[in-house]
């Protein structure tokens, strides 16, 4: 596999030198201001980071209620824990950082959530130090161009370099860049 990738890389490199000049009138892809994917290795986003202090809401996400706690997603970042034992003074008490998270559900002492493409099971038995106890890789992989996952396309419409699918890495953010009009496009 490694040699195969190396070969592809080598051939692409060659193509840079050996590519023929377009003839007059031939279509040439333009360059536009778009987005390029930034990848990270799974070792950098697979950890649950627990902070037992409140963190401000930046981009509020979906909500879930369980017992006297409310949980609110911080879109793509993790889960706010809100103490609702007295609804008149409900307040955030913790933040569980889980990169790529948008969805979760709880049964008993266990929280089920997405960590980018993976489904993870988090043990809440000790609620100040939750732990990931199970991971099912590549559970959320459907490709829906109308409603892509954040690692499949940028939020905004426009041209973007088509992301490559690697077995151990994923697109963690999108950065502004000059991209070809031959690249992917989000309407």
């Amino acid at each position: 596999m490694r040699y195969f990738l190396a070969l592809i890389f080598f051939l692409q490199l060659c193509a840079c030198f050996w590519g023929t000049k377009p003839h007059p009138g031939e279509y040439i892809a333009g360059k536009v201001w778009g987005w390029r994917p930034v990848y990270a290795h799974q070792s950098t986003y697979s950890e649950l980071t627990v902070s037992n202090t409140a963190r401000p809401v930046e981009k509020a996400g979906k909500i879930y209620v369980f017992g006297n706690k409310i949980f609110q997603n911080e879109i793509g970042k993790g889960i706010h824990v809100i103490d609702n034992s007295n609804p008149s003074t409900a307040h955030r008490i913790a933040f569980w950082g889980l990169p790529g998270n948008t969805e979760f559900s709880i049964k008993g002492n266990y929280l089920y959530a997405n960590n980018y493409k993976d489904l993870v099971v988090i043990d809440l038995t000790n609620n100040t130090s939750p732990q990931i106890i199970k991971r099912i890789r590549n559970s959320f992989i459907a490709d829906d161009q109308q409603n892509p996952y954040p690692w499949q396309a940028p939020d905004e419409s426009g041209y973007f370099n088509c992301p490559v699918s690697y077995p151990d890495s994923i697109v963690v953010k999108w950065e502004r860049d000059s991209v070809s009009t031959n690249s992917c496009y989000r309407p």
Partner: protein, 248 residues
């Protein structure tokens, strides 16, 4: 027998906006399930986690969390946005319609009925006889006319549209008995009496916040707003009284 028990359990756990069964709600009861909003794409019924992945409904066996495993993957039409459990059924909102699946056999959801509509985003809530579908047409979702579409589902095999309430930008919705809460983003939250589902009556409107979704929980309305959360006392269901704001 196991299936029948599962149905009975599901029936008790998932009536719309029921009183919370776990009262004080310590997270110790090993089998209790929480409650999500109408925009959720994950839901747990009994020993199974149902998670929609755009065009598939994945079923995970979670009876032992440490050995959680996928047991089924049901291909749906496309563009699935939301999943709402009610008794032994799942109401799935996709961009081209509402689908009703039976989970009488929990590991094998089977399609019962569907109501197709013009393309849009569509959270669903339902009870025994009626399903409310919130359709918001926009650039991303599709061209459908904004509104609350109401279906008679007494015969789940053939849902029949009985009303269309054309209101701007409806998003998440919540149903408590005969009151329907409709989050309308910057247009506030509208409160309808849907005692006669074919003729909803606007009872009240809360404005000043961007409302995205809502969970009815005991006599508390938990609202997902653009800046975080807003909690309301709904002892009088049509007259929410703000209790607290948990925002940035």
């Amino acid at each position: 027998m196991k299936n029948i028990l599962a149905i009975i359990c599901a029936a008790f756990m998932f009536t719309s906006c029921e009183k919370a069964s776990d009262g004080t709600g310590t997270a110790n009861a090993g089998t209790s399930v929480g409650k999500g909003g109408s925009l959720a794409r994950f839901t747990i019924v009994g020993d199974y986690l149902y998670a929609v992945d755009n065009s598939t409904l994945n079923v995970y066996d979670i009876h032992d969390p440490t050995t959680t495993r996928i047991v089924n993957s049901v291909v749906l039409r496309f563009g699935v946005e939301t999943i709402y459990p009610y008794k032994d059924k799942l109401f799935i909102g996709s961009r081209d319609g509402m689908y009703i699946y039976s989970i009488a056999t929990p590991s094998s959801p089977s399609l019962l009925g569907e109501a197709r509509h013009t393309r849009s985003c569509d959270p669903v809530v339902a009870n025994d006889s009626v399903a409310f579908v919130s359709l918001m047409g926009n650039q991303r979702c599709g061209p459908a006319e904004d509104g609350i579409y109401t279906y008679n589902i007494k015969n789940v095999l053939t849902p029949v549209q009985i009303h269309l309430n054309q209101i701007p930008t409806p998003n998440g919705i919540g149903l408590q008995d005969s009151i329907l809460y409709v989050c309308q983003k910057t247009n506030g939250m509208s409160i309808y009496n849907v005692n006669d589902p074919a003729a909803p009556v606007l009872r009240n409107k809360v404005t000043g916040k961007t409302f995205e979704d809502v969970i009815c929980y005991d006599n508390i309305l938990i609202c997902y707003i653009s800046t975080g959360l807003a909690l309301y006392d709904v002892s009088v269901p049509s007259s929410p009284v703000e209790l607290s704001l948990v925002n940035n």
